[in-house]
């Protein structure tokens, strides 16, 4: 992956954000957060503290009741604003079954690049490179729902990786994985030091290996540890 733009450029800036699910108390109230290019951030916090909600707000899957979300230097408010965000930020869901829907691994991986207006030939090159860099070569024609859980996880990372996002958002990438697959993910992330990412995880060792700073989310607030 190539680095676009300069280091330390603010990519995500969230200010005075409030958000509540219907019939529930506020998840965020006057929430502030910013994220720069090149940062590797770990996000910890108790269940229900809004970590996943934060990702969904960044991707425009949820919309705040108040506050301002600025991504890549532009305010993002309505659905159309987020189309560009989704092309440049990659979110890997917690459950790979939510992510993988195509019959074969190859088709699932090229789904994103083709949506990004790549042609078939370019998509095939991206497919090959992605599988190689994630150690999945030979998986092209495997049926997605017949993969093991660990393989599904890696493939769902690959589907997002193939879009060559400028920022990766990983939601609990290590839960239910064996040590071997976790080490594999750590290696992949370490082999690409130019990546910017935010990782939600309860796995302290994993975060220690892969991130530079850790934020704690609790009671609708976020603070650096």
């Amino acid at each position: 992956m190539v680095i676009k733009g300069k280091k330390d450029e603010v990519l995500i800036k969230i200010s005075n954000l409030s958000f509540a699910y219907s019939l529930r108390d506020y998840v965020f109230k006057e929430f502030n957060f910013y994220f720069c290019r090149g940062e590797k951030v770990g996000l910890v916090g108790p269940n229900g503290s809004g970590k996943t909600t934060l990702f969904h707000l960044i991707m425009g899957l949820l919309h705040p009741s108040e506050g301002r979300i600025e991504i890549f230097g532009k305010e993002r408010k309505v659905e159309d604003d987020f189309i560009e965000v989704r092309e440049r930020i990659g979110l890997v869901f917690q459950d790979p079954d939510d992510q993988l829907f195509s019959p074969t691994v190859a088709e699932d991986i090229v789904f994103g690049p083709l949506n990004l207006r790549k042609n078939q030939q370019e998509a095939r090159i991206i497919l090959k490179e992605t599988l190689e860099s994630l150690g999945l070569s030979g998986f092209e024609d495997r049926i997605t729902y017949k993969l093991s859980f660990g393989e599904k996880r890696l493939v769902s990372l690959a589907t997002v990786w193939a879009m060559q996002p400028e920022v990766l958002l990983l939601d609990e990438p290590t839960t239910w994985l064996d040590d071997e697959t976790i080490i594999k993910i750590i290696q992949i992330l370490k082999q690409h030091p130019q990546l910017s990412y935010i990782i939600i995880s309860h796995d302290k060792n994993f975060l220690k290996e892969t991130t530079n700073s850790i934020y704690l989310m609790d009671n609708g607030k976020i603070k650096k540890l």
């Binding site: 092309e87 990659g90 939510d98 088709e107 789904f111 994103g112």
Partner: protein
């Protein structure tokens, strides 16, 4: 897990281009459905049995699938001969059996079994995914293909969701009985599966949006049209044409 047992095999039919198989299955079914002459229908049945033999599918499993279909047809045997007006050939108390009734129900049985056999031999020897690919090569509307594909794909997930919930019931000592507790539990189970599937579909859609989905599915070219596909296709199509002309 929904298994596609028949699709995992190695025979002439398994290796045939699914596009050819869909065309042949379609023409064959329509022809058999409209033909009304016994001679031609028996010939069609022979063709179907021949296809089954070529496909090397397990006879036992073919029979068990035919039984399912014929259990519905059996209901017609109970109804049609007594209700269709026509020349009466036998009287059973106040009920009378008509020649036309027997004739029709026999035709239906013959036709259904012929079509089912041919479809089993032709279509079930391809995986659902290959069939879906083939359909999109035929430019079947995207929406129909998505519907077909997602129904199949998420049937798997919903099924495993069901197994998980069912296990959760079992480990806490649930046994189905004829009482209110059982009915309520099953109602909860079904309700839970519905709710979870709905949530799941929302998450899948979100995940697709995150990858820039704008309503279009892409397929990577998978099929190469071989000479053997062409030859087998021609042979099968000419058999069908012969069948139609003969009748």
């Amino acid at each position: 897990m929904i298994k596609e047992k028949f699709s995992e095999g190695d025979s002439l039919l398994h290796n045939l281009d699914p596009r050819i198989k869909i065309i042949v299955a379609l023409f064959f079914s329509v022809s058999v459905a409209v033909i009304d002459k016994y001679n031609s229908l028996f010939f069609a049945l022979l063709l179907a049995i021949f296809l089954i033999i070529v496909s090397k599918l397990k006879v036992k499993e073919i029979i068990s699938r035919l039984l399912v279909v014929n259990s519905f047809i059996f209901l017609l045997w109970l109804m049609l001969p007594f209700t269709l007006p026509g020349e009466i050939i036998y009287t059973l108390g106040s009920l009378s059996i008509s020649r036309e009734g027997i004739h029709y129900v026999f035709l239906i049985t013959l036709k259904s079994n012929t079509i089912i056999l041919a479809t089993l031999a032709l279509l079930s020897t391809s995986s659902i995914y290959n069939l879906i690919h083939a359909l999109s090569h035929f430019h079947v509307p995207d929406k129909l293909i998505h519907l077909f594909f997602f129904t199949f794909r998420y049937l798997q997930t919903i099924h495993s969701e069901y197994i998980r919930l069912n296990n959760a019931l079992k480990i806490r000592g649930f046994k189905a009985q004829t009482n209110f507790h059982t009915y309520r539990t099953f109602a909860y189970l079904i309700g839970m599966i519905l709710v979870r599937s709905y949530d799941r579909s929302k998450r899948v859609y979100d995940a697709m949006l995150c990858r820039g989905f704008k309503g279009k599915f892409w397929i990577l070219d998978h099929f190469t049209f071989k000479q053997s596909d062409f030859v087998s296709g021609i042979i099968m199509i000419s058999c069908i044409i012969g069948l139609v002309l003969w009748s």
